[in-house]
């Protein structure tokens, strides 16, 4: 006999993500899922961001395969940080984030940034319940990355082109990259950023603040 099933294979994660999303909405917390290759500069960007975003109460969830290196870097800034170790899994899943949320005082937070495992492939396939996806692309990775990994970029609400201070030392074609990103998503938001010198950090702060206030006054 033939039995029709028609069930999504991401249903379990999607349900957990919806639970997270409901909780974030109830608590008025704006949440970012931060993506990018290993070494793109995700943690460095957070280190540049945290000191200048002091009027929003921020927490960070750090996803990593095994180590606590990133969480240790963020802890120095005296904000709540939770380390999630995936034990070798290449992406965070919504249920893992739900566990981390139990350790955060959501009533006393405005923004949570979830730094996903460094990976340009499957991280975007797993909804965590976030409001926005931000992907960091460093100039040292090369112009072709949006073409090679379209899935992650087309889902992103903001792309950060990082290590912009190294632009002249690479053959990264910033105009072509921007054109390619716009091919994937109409009106893609792009910020050029240098965590070391602080260029672009204010733009990122404005983006987060405006999205945070949109969430408070929909």
């Amino acid at each position: 006999m033939k039995i029709e099933i028609n069930k999504k294979l991401t249903a379990e994660n999607d349900m957990a993500a919806e639970d997270n999303r409901r909780l974030f909405l109830e608590k008025g917390v704006y949440v970012i899922n931060l993506l990018g290759s290993p070494g793109a500069g995700k943690t460095s960007m957070l280190e540049a961001l945290i000191p200048v975003i002091d009027d929003l109460k921020l927490a960070v969830i750090e996803g990593d395969l095994y180590t606590e290196r990133d969480a240790e870097r963020i802890e120095r800034y005296d904000i709540p940080v939770i380390q999630l170790n995936t034990g070798g899994i290449c992406h965070l899943e919504a249920a893992m984030v739900a566990e981390a949320l139990k350790e955060l005082d959501l009533d006393n937070l405005d923004v949570i940034i979830i730094e996903n495992v460094g990976n340009l492939i499957c991280t975007a396939s797993f909804d965590l319940g976030e409001d926005n996806l931000i992907t960091v692309l460093s100039v040292t990775e090369g112009t072709d990355k949006p073409e090679k990994y379209p899935h992650i970029f087309e889902k992103s609400d903001l792309v950060i082109i990082s290590k912009i201070d190294l632009l002249e030392m690479t053959d990264f074609d910033i105009i072509k990259t921007k054109q390619n990103l716009e091919l994937l998503k109409k009106d893609m938001r792009i910020i050029e950023l240098c965590s070391k010198e602080g260029q672009g950090v204010e733009d990122l702060v404005s983006f987060l603040k405006s999205r945070y206030s949109c969430k408070q006054n929909p």
């Binding site: 006999m1 039995i3 294979l9 991401t10 492939i121 975007a124 797993f126 073409e147 109409k186």
Partner: protein
Amino acid sequence: MHEMSFMAEAFRHINSAAIQHQLQYVNKVVLVLGELTCVDKNALEFAYIVLSKDSIAEGAELVIKLIKARAYCEACGDLFVINHFSRICPACGEKDIKVISGYELYLAEIEGIEKR
């Protein structure tokens, strides 16, 4: 290797349907996979071999139906197949397109033999 966790979820549905319909065994499993999902067909097949062993679907045929990425242009109404990268309407060059297929990833149906 997220294919393994997707296939594990497929097996949860297969097992509960088999119990509900009192199947003795399952002889066919049909999955639908869109080409924009970043899920690899070969890795799914490998996960199936591993997870079907000693299960109700051991030895059952696996069919993976691949779905092309298609889009609809909001501006000119053209319906077209998109390549993996560009999201521009080939007819009018407009970017206002709506992807209508390519993100599918689901267990469509199973076939099995009922217990006597």
